[in-house]
């Protein structure tokens, strides 16, 4: 599994890139590995909508399972990756880059404190039993 040191992570395998007051989120490499071939993505969030930390903003479906993707921190959506539904396999190929899901204005920056660093997230994944 790959992690990227410039990102923060949730227990539920979402990542967030923080640039000033803007956050970008998607699911981690570990998550895509666990799901295997992803065949369907539906971003539920629409631009302008404010979504609370922990609320679902997307559905991801692979040949094995369906999963909801939750907001790592609260935010107001500014952009949605509309290319993703047409090419959901991007999540398998490039989860931290091409397969970003939503971009948003972070509305409660204090919530970032509760997220994991890449090292902590790596440890978190290694500690999980299957």
């Amino acid at each position: 599994m790959k992690v990227s040191p410039d990102l923060k992570y949730t227990q539920n395998d979402e990542w967030i890139r923080v640039e000033g007051s803007t956050g970008t989120a998607g699911i981690t490499d570990y998550a895509q590995e666990q799901l295997s071939d992803i065949v369907f993505v539906e971003v539920l969030a629409s631009v302008g909508e404010t979504i609370a930390k922990g609320a679902a903003f997307a559905n991801v479906e692979s040949v094995k399972a369906a999963a909801e993707v939750y907001m790592p921190v609260s935010g107001t959506i500014t952009a949605v990756n509309n290319a993703l539904p047409q090419g959901p396999e991007a999540i398998n190929k490039d989860p931290y880059g091409e397969a970003w899901m939503v971009r948003f204005t972070i509305t409660a920056p204090a919530e970032l404190e509760g997220l994991m660093s890449s090292a902590a997230y790596q440890k978190h994944c290694e500690g999980r039993s299957h």
Binding site: F40, E42, L44, N59, E61, S62, V63, K64, A65, A66, E68
Partner: protein
């Protein structure tokens, strides 16, 4: 070896969880004296004797082979080519369900694929699932699709009163406890404009029927535009046989087209099994319940069929599934596919034309009788409403007892305003003599 996995400890834990001590406590609600009734069964008889007895019982039923039938209201007496039944009963096909190890049954998958393709052609829609149990279930699944499409943010369904009353009931049953309100069908005469007046930002779906329950052929183009302008979806429930003649509902922008598939080669059979047709646009395919067979190529490049969307509900989505219906009505879907193949485009059109012309001949005859009046305004297909001079039940009794005719449907059952109105259907099976006899019998009963 016992195949029941629960141990005594499991049972005790379950009983404790629901707060009873013994298994017998679960049956407390049933009076003790009826828990194990004496069945008082007769002595066993031989196969020969029991066949005689069952034959006699079945002959006590009246059937459409011996009686002229003018009853429709959602289930119609059509001609079924014998080849339909012969193909259905082949051992390779004779299962009611999609197989659970589907890819090994390529023939069954191909048959379902052909069914889907034919239904798409007929409705003009892009995607058909492998079918549902009946037309009413299919309509309810259409409503579920709309609710999910709007992610639970819209909770109103605008329902035409001219959608089959049973289907409307099934929709209400299906959506119980989901906070959904169904409006629009309060009066029998609410037309497209009355339905459009209900549209708002809380409306998930508008549901209409084509031809409608009273037989009318309504153009829903304007209603479709208004529905889409409000951000809602339009569902059209069809009689698939009528589509042999009529413009398909995709033409006026339907998002979901459902229907009762019984007219396509499925016998009346005292009410079932029937066939639920469900079609939609490509963009809603992931929201569609049930199964979908797809065509692909195998590792050697040969054509092969797969259950493209089967595992979604049961295997992948599980508790996130939006519908619990995973199976289809395999045998009846096959019947429809065989029927449509045998009839062909021209044959289906001819059958639909015959239905139309026979119904219009009947309406002209009956409308001219003193005391009877045709209620329909505008074009109708193979069914029409007659205002009668006497209670419908009384007229039907007379038709049945004195003329061996199964009369029309008593609309007073479902519409308070339509007491004394009878819904009469005609199909290609009704001869001119039968229709003339119906008219003279109606004339006779009016004078009694």
């Amino acid at each position: 070896m016992a195949y029941i996995p629960h141990t005594d400890a499991d049972r005790q834990a379950m009983l404790a969880a629901i707060g009873v001590e013994r298994m017998d406590d679960l049956y407390d609600a049933i009076p003790a004296d009826v828990r194990f009734p004496d069945l008082d069964l007769p002595e066993a008889v031989s196969e020969l004797e029991i066949l005689d007895e069952l034959q006699a019982l079945s002959e006590a039923n009246l059937d459409t082979r011996h009686f002229a039938c003018f009853l429709g209201a959602g289930a119609y007496n059509h001609f079924i080519p014998s080849a339909v039944d012969h193909i259905l009963r082949r051992g390779e096909f004779y299962t009611a369900y999609t197989p659970y190890q589907p890819e090994i049954s390529q023939g069954t998958l191909q048959a379902i694929f052909e069914y889907q393709s034919l239904i798409c052609q007929l409705t003009g829609m892009q995607v058909s699932n492998a079918s549902h149990y009946d037309g009413a279930t299919a309509l309810a699944e259409a409503v579920i699709l709309a609710l999910n499409h709007h992610r639970g943010k819209r909770a109103k369904v605008v329902m035409s009163p001219a959608v089959h009353p049973h289907s409307r009931q099934v929709v209400r049953t299906y959506t119980q406890g989901m906070g959904v309100t169904v409006v629009g069908d309060e009066s029998c005469c609410n037309g497209p404009d009355d339905l459009a007046a209900h549209l708002d930002s809380n409306t998930a779906m508008v549901a209409v029927q084509y031809p409608d329950f009273f037989g009318h052929i309504v153009d829903f183009t304007r209603l479709a535009e208004a529905t889409h302008a409000a951000g809602a979806l339009l569902c059209v429930s069809v009689n698939p046989l009528a589509l042999g003649l009529l413009r398909p509902p995709s033409g006026f922008g339907a998002d979901v087209v459902v229907g009762e598939g019984q007219p396509l080669g499925i016998p009346l059979s005292f009410g079932g099994p029937y066939l639920g047709i469900f079609t939609t646009k490509q963009e809603f395919v992931r929201k569609m319940a049930g199964r979908l067979v797809g065509e692909t190529v195998d590792s050697r490049g040969q054509r092969a069929y797969v259950l493209t969307l089967t595992p979604r509900e049961q295997h992948i989505r599980r508790e996130k599934a939006t519908s619990n219906i995973c199976t289809n009505q395999g045998l009846m879907a096959l019947a429809a596919a065989v029927y449509l193949s045998l009839m062909g485009k021209q044959g289906l059109r001819r059958a639909a034309e015959l239905c139309y012309h026979k119904a219009h001949y009947a309406a002209a005859k009956i409308g001219a009788l003193p005391g009877y009046k045709i209620w329909n305004e505008g074009t109708f297909f193979n069914e029409f409403v007659v205002a009668c001079p006497k209670p419908v039940a009384e007229i039907n009794h007379h038709l049945l007892e004195d003329h061996e005719i199964v009369g029309g449907y008593d609309l007073g059952h479902d519409y308070a305003e339509l007491k004394g109105h009878m819904l009469i259907a005609a199909t290609e099976m009704n001869t001119r003599e039968e229709i003339d006899e119906l008219a003279s019998a109606l004339e006779e009963v009016a004078h009694d």
